[in-house]
């Protein structure tokens, strides 16, 4: 369980230390929730709690750090992050070419516009099973493209 949370937080671009902290906090909360009645999925709930803790962490509202000043003097963009971002952008553009347009449209509707499977199916003239298939395959395509980037620019701090 701890591993599932740590893996998730690290992939979100945070340090291993932060990941361990988030995992510890999430597991404590999970125990409290689980006492009130067994959730449908322990892993699902644990990751949801971890995602919420991460948002708090970013906002700086928890014990992990002081609130972030709105006007912190960050002279963005740092050239190295720009290069990494441009690389990522190029890869995503490549990924786009490899994901068929229909599949892209389904994926974006589901994630960005938060439309239900049923609504997407109705509006695009697909079956719900086909929408499901497009989401799963589209995610796989995207993930593959992100993997091709390799571990060289994986940010862990």
């Amino acid at each position: 369980m701890r591993h599932a949370i740590v893996a998730y937080v690290v992939r979100k671009g945070h340090s291993r230390d932060a990941a361990e902290d988030v995992a510890q906090e999430s597991l404590t909360k999970l125990l409290r929730y689980a006492r009130q009645g067994r959730p449908a999925s322990l892993y699902g709930l644990a990751l949801k709690i971890a995602a919420n803790s991460l948002i708090d962490l970013i906002r700086g509202e928890t014990r992990f750090g002081a609130p972030v000043d709105d006007t912190f003097p960050c002279e963005a963009p740092l050239p190295d992050t720009v290069v990494a971002d441009r690389q990522q952008l190029r890869l995503l553009s490549v990924a786009l070419e490899h994901i068929p347009p229909l599949r892209r449209a389904v994926l974006v509707r589901r994630r960005v516009e938060n439309q239900s499977h049923a609504r997407i199916a109705a509006e695009m003239g697909l079956s719900v099973a086909a929408v499901e298939k497009h989401v799963v395959r589209g995610l796989c395509d995207l993930r593959k493209a992100m993997e091709d980037r390799g571990s060289r620019d994986r940010i862990t701090s």
Binding site: S41, Y43, G44, L89, R143
Partner: protein, 312 residues
Amino acid sequence: MTREDKIRNEAAFWVDRMNRPVFDPADGAAFDRWMSSDADHREAFAAMAVAWEDGVPQLAEVEAQPFVAPETLRQQGLHGRDWVTAALSMAAVVVVAVGLGVVPRFLPHRYESGPGPGSAIALVDGSRIQLGGNSAVQVQYLPWRRSVELTRGEAAFDVTHDESRPFSVDAGAARVVVLGTAFHIDRLAGGAVGVQVSRGAVQVNVGARGDRLAAGQAARVSGNAIRRVAMQEEDRAWQSGWFVARNVPLSDVVEKLRRYSNKAIRLDDQAAADRLIIGRFKVSEPKTVLEAMKTSYGLHVVETDDHISISQ
């Protein structure tokens, strides 16, 4: 199918399942079994969850880039509106001739701001417009409607509710019709328009298409298409002078810089204008940003006495 492919497929399946508003308890138990059975499953799920949360929205951003507004459509929109405005002004002039002293306030009034932080406009009905730098609006209040045209730049609107007098904002080809609400409109390069709603709801129309945006939703209009985009935290704080570029063309960043620059900025080089830019920029300090562009993107920036020009 390799073992890696199989795990990736399963991870994607579970990400899809777990991100639904409702799921079957049997699914929950099966997911827990899958996750606890193998460390590789947990890694694959973590990676796939991040692709879902961060990758897909980025994909949507990239997809929007090649879009260029068809010029003809924009002009048609302008023609139509010019005609209406002209007709209304003429009607107003006719009434003036009749001799009603109150009429002049029905005439369109133009507000303009120079480069810099912009200015606030308080309107007679209690509505407020926060005009960005180097931006202009034309406001016309009639007894039966309130219309504003954003002719240049960007502005945020906080509109007092008045059912009998709808409030609408025209920005290029896009028309935003308002109930009582707060929102922000940004005229971007190439005729594109960004709309972000922070309170209430607005109806965005372009040509025959329309989309209703609720609080927390944002859209980008380019050509005759309205595309939903994820509203970002920075969009709410646009007056801070920061602009977060997420794969946007350089021409959009330059459009932002023009709101603050004392000198005209020329971007005649199409290849440079189309360059996709990522980064967080303090656009209220154009010189610093241009310096960063030079070093990060290898662009040529030439400054003369009266303008700055950017090329590849």
